[in-house]
């Protein structure tokens, strides 16, 4: 006699180690197979956009740190580009290079965390994560030398950067780059082409290119599906127009490709850091801007960067006062989650955790 079964609905989260923050998935299972998925979020909603309307333009930099808190440098950069567009300020060359350099170091740190947690989700119990964190710690130490903070850096300001790098920063950066080559090779040898990783991730949770574009997916997730769209190439900001780099593209759109694109992007970021060190010249690090900024009434700006998660943009509207009238954040993590249902339905419970890891979301940015 056949055993009678029925679908079961389970809440994964909001408190669950694999969801990388307070994120809930309401999933209906048939045995181990996923029938329905509904992502539910908002648990970390702090009203950043409303808070920004109450603070002056310089203070908002500290709010942007707390969006995607593992890549705060890049958040600072997107916001500062938007304010500079409002004001029509030209940033000094040295500041442009310092921004590009720190943004690329931050991308390395963020991708290392993405890779580490992706492998953690596969069930590697910490070892690769610690390998990734070893190098990430060194980058955070470098940030500490620049601005005194490791996570919530607030290093960039509208018009440039807050401080020039101290003299002992440059030898420390050289030493880091030297060590990183060996450390990263070790990570790559452990995980790239690793048979268990390949079997668990190849061909799982496919994202076709047309759906990726239609769902406004951006960043490594889009490039893993076969598009070469990268805002650093398409609409260069800061010093990216003088950087030589390739955009890694994969065509499979599966979990492995999303993971592979991040691994390759780290190589390109390190390449850009080295070019910044060669090209940077002495000079001022901040444009001559007043302490309290007052962009003209009616001015609007859309400051956009290629963040580690995808297209991050700030849409600012000024009313002539000291705070923006509206500060909208286009958050890549939130919009990349649009495809969760497509990616998960039909796959198994264990794949669900890995697929979420491959999207590399950050709840600070999803909920804002």
């Amino acid at each position: 006699m056949p055993i009678k079964t029925e679908p079961m609905t389970v809440n994964i989260g909001p408190q669950h180690p694999s969801t990388h923050g307070v994120f809930r998935l309401r999933v209906t299972f048939d045995g181990e197979e996923i029938l329905e998925v509904e992502p539910i979020f908002g648990y970390l909603h702090r009203g950043t956009e409303k808070l920004a309307e109450e603070r002056n333009y310089t203070q908002i930099v500290t709010l942007t740190d707390r969006l995607d808190y593992v890549s705060s440098m890049i958040n600072n950069q997107a916001y500062c580009l938007a304010v500079e567009e409002l004001l029509g300020v030209e940033v000094p060359q040295r500041a442009k290079y310092l921004r590009t350099l720190t943004a690329e170091l931050q991308r390395v740190a963020s991708h290392l965390m993405g890779i580490g947690f992706f492998l953690q989700d596969l069930g590697t119990l910490g070892t690769p994560l610690m390998y990734a964190f070893r190098s990430r710690e060194r980058i955070l130490d470098l940030f500490e030398m620049l601005c005194g903070a490791r996570i919530t850096v607030s290093y960039m300001r509208p018009g440039g950067v807050f401080f020039d790098a101290p003299d002992d920063f440059w030898p420390a950066l050289d030493q880091f780059l030297k060590d990183f080559d060996a450390e990263y090779k070790e990570i790559e040898q452990l995980i790239l082409e690793n048979e268990i990783v390949m079997v668990r991730t190849r061909g799982v949770s496919l994202l076709p290119l047309d759906l990726a574009i239609n769902a406004s997916v951006s960043g490594p997730v889009l490039r893993a599906s076969g598009s070469d769209w990268d805002w650093r190439k398409m609409d260069p900001y800061d010093a990216y127009d003088r950087m030589e780099f390739d955009v890694p593209v994969a065509t499979g759109g599966d979990n492995y490709d999303r993971f592979w694109v991040r691994i390759q992007e780290i190589h390109q970021s390190i390449r850009m850091v080295k070019q910044c060190i060669q090209q940077i010249e002495p000079g001022p690090t901040r444009a001559d801007v007043p302490l309290i900024l007052r962009p003209p009434a009616g001015a609007e700006a859309y400051g956009r960067v290629e963040a580690s998660k995808g297209e991050l943009a700030f849409y600012l509207v000024a009313d002539g006062g000291i705070s923006p009238y509206r500060c909208k954040v286009r958050s890549p993590s939130l919009i990349n989650l649009t495809v969760t249902e497509h990616l998960l339905v039909g796959w198994k419970l264990a794949d669900m955790i890995v697929t979420l890891g491959s999207l590399d979301i950050n709840m600070g940015e999803v909920d804002r």
């Binding site: 909603h45 239609n214 406004s216 398409m234 297209e311 286009r330």
Partner: protein, 147 residues
């Protein structure tokens, strides 16, 4: 090939020919269209081979007290150009805009967010409910009159 920003002037004639009586003027390099025509204009801008806007960057809403403005940032990944389309909704109660969900799936969470925080609902969206706040929350906190 560098990215090209199409201004309202570049777009107005084409859009007016494609969707009659939709254009409402031009502001700061953006095209302004009538609110009830927004889905038709979006459909035209996506399907017209010369414009080909296949990527919706973001949808933002701004509260100007006597009216709301909804701003669409669009990009064509094939033609490598961008555009900004704006529309106005006068009043503060029962605001509805045609949804662009069926053209760009990327509008899903953004339209829900605008309903949640700004109180503009989108007709034709299959799952129009709050996203950041919980069901039963009173008011729309990003509005200027919410204290």
């Amino acid at each position: 090939m560098a990215l090209q920003q199409l201004t309202g002037e570049d777009l107005a004639e084409k859009v007016a020919a494609g969707v009659p009586e939709s254009v409402d003027g031009m502001v700061d390099g953006a095209l302004r269209v009538k609110s009830q025509k927004i889905a038709d204009v979006a459909n035209f801008m996506k399907s017209d081979s010369g414009l080909d806007f296949n990527f919706l960057n973001s949808i933002s809403a701004v509260d100007y007290i006597d009216h709301f403005e909804v701003v669409y940032h669009l990009t064509s990944l094939n033609k490598r150009h961008t555009a900004i389309v704006k529309t106005r909704l006068v009043g503060r109660d029962d605001l509805t805009l045609p949804s662009v969900y069926h053209l760009w799936r990327g509008a899903d969470f953004q339209e829900r967010e605008i309903w949640d925080l700004m109180g503009i609902s989108f007709s034709g969206h299959p799952n129009m409910k709050r996203i950041m706040l919980w069901e039963g929350f009173e008011g729309h906190p990003l509005r200027k009159d919410y204290l």
